[in-house]
């Protein structure tokens, strides 16, 4: 029968059964945020890995070797994606010491992982798929770290076979991998909260302190294996990554492309960066004590009470004549420690008698530089 003549009436009712599809979530199936590297609020240019977040949203760059590498946005991608993240060695380390490492990772919020049913005998299998490209072929590892209760880790090896060629990899991780029962026991549970759930990592180099057995859960710090290549061994080495998908089930389904707005909103739960130019007013002010005080609208609910950083040239516009005075030390204030899921932040600045005097009323925060142009930012960080 030609495919074009097959309709729902031609499919026997028992041919596609609920058990066949029950574990394959058909919407929002990807547990990874920004898996196709669409959103770059912090920076797009090459930035040194610093054991923290640096460039692409939600992805962090761990590094403790005697060398160094950067991450940056790249348009060298697998088909159907606008960007990849490119890691590039800038200072080589040909001999990784026992406690040293380099890897790219994402922390997944615990309450998003409850469908995994970890900590029970019904714990689900996960499947990871991703596209990768590197000049350096050989064995690499991915890792999962389940943090709550007792921390359990699993490294899994994969191979980059062809230099400078995009390759799609698929890895299935069962809760009993390595004939273990750690994840299915009660200590395998992931708390239903806004804390750390699972870390997914892509190894670039692992010292011997972190070597374990591929595809085996353990309670030790087994992030990688002894077969992992030392990607840090040459400044010629690069590593591209995109279309990362982690989903429930034993099958890798096609990558779930989400709209830019959808993906950005997911990222902004963890980082909100408000860029603004000269004379833009980003939030309204109020007079409270001797500090400028402002209410900044947030586009989405943030995970936790955020840290705040700011760029240069942020001023308080304080009267109808357009007078301004500088504002430093912007901090999110007057919110309880457990005050999560907020959609506005009350921001206080350092003491400034001009901004707070009776005749000068803070109207809003703006950007200014006497040169006639200024680009600055306010950045709120609630990353895991």
């Amino acid at each position: 029968m030609a495919l074009s003549t097959i309709g729902t009436n031609q499919i026997a009712s028992e041919a596609v059964t609920v058990p066949k599809v029950a574990d394959q979530v058909l919407s929002s199936k990807n547990l990874i945020i920004n898996g196709d590297m669409q959103c770059w609020q912090r920076a797009t240019a090459a930035t040194a890995a610093n054991n923290s977040y640096a460039t692409v949203d939600r992805w962090a760059f761990g590094e403790s070797t005697d060398g160094a590498y950067t991450s940056e946005q790249s348009t060298d991608t697998p088909t159907g994606t606008g960007f990849s993240v490119k890691a590039q060695v800038t200072t080589a380390d040909t001999s990784i010491a026992a406690a040293q490492f380099a890897y790219i990772y994402q922390e997944i919020e615990a309450q998003n992982l409850q469908p995994l049913q970890y900590g029970t005998s019904s714990a689900k299998t996960l499947t990871l798929s991703f596209w990768v490209k590197s000049n350096k072929t050989g064995t690499y590892t991915i890792n999962l770290v389940k943090r709550d209760s007792t921390a359990y880790l699993i490294p899994v090896e994969y191979t980059i076979s062809s230099a400078n060629t995009w390759e799609k990899k698929t890895i299935t991780i069962t809760p009993t991998a390595g004939s273990t029962s750690l994840i299915t026991a009660s200590a395998g549970a992931i708390a239903n909260d806004n804390g750390h759930g699972i870390q997914l990592g892509f190894g670039l180099a692992w010292g011997s302190d972190y070597h374990g057995t591929s595809n085996t859960w353990s309670a030790s710090s087994h992030y990688g294996t002894s077969n992992q290549v030392n990607w840090m061994d040459s400044t010629s080495n690069n590593f591209y990554l995109s279309q990362v998908q982690l989903e429930v089930g034993d099958t890798a389904t096609p990558f779930e492309h989400r709209s830019f707005g959808d993906e950005l909103a997911r990222c902004q739960r963890y980082l909100y960066r408000r860029d603004f130019n000269i004379y833009d007013v980003v939030c309204q002010g109020a007079a409270l004590g001797n500090k400028g005080s402002y209410c900044l609208h947030l586009p989405v609910s943030m995970r936790a009470k955020p840290s705040c950083s700011q760029g240069s040239g942020i001023y308080c516009w304080y009267n109808q004549a357009g007078s301004i005075t500088t504002q430093t030390g912007l901090a999110v204030s007057y919110m309880g420690n457990n005050d999560t899921n907020m959609t506005q932040a009350f921001i206080r600045a350092d003491d400034n008698s001009t901004a707070a005097s009776a005749t000068n009323y803070p109207l809003g925060l703006t950007s200014y530089n006497s040169s006639g142009s200024n680009s600055t930012f306010i950045q709120l960080d609630a990353e895991l």
């Binding site: 936790a304 999110v332 960080d381």
Partner: protein, 63 residues
């Protein structure tokens, strides 16, 4: 990223009228500066507490 310094910052509580520590000014080597809430769910605060417990960091009192 290595922490260069951490110092409490204070503010007047509008209800109690008492001055209290409200957040920590965190400065990394290289100059990156963050105002960090006193919240265990905040990753910067958690790292500060980890280093204080390890004895590698002291939080300075507020001015």
């Amino acid at each position: 990223m290595s922490i260069k310094s951490a110092q409490y910052k204070s503010d007047t509580n509008l209800v109690s009228k008492k001055t209290e520590n409200t957040h920590i000014e965190l400065i990394y080597e290289g100059g990156e500066k963050w105002q960090v809430p006193l919240s265990e769910n905040n990753r910067h605060y958690a790292e500060i507490q980890r280093q204080v417990s390890a004895g590698t960091l002291t939080i300075e009192d507020a001015d």
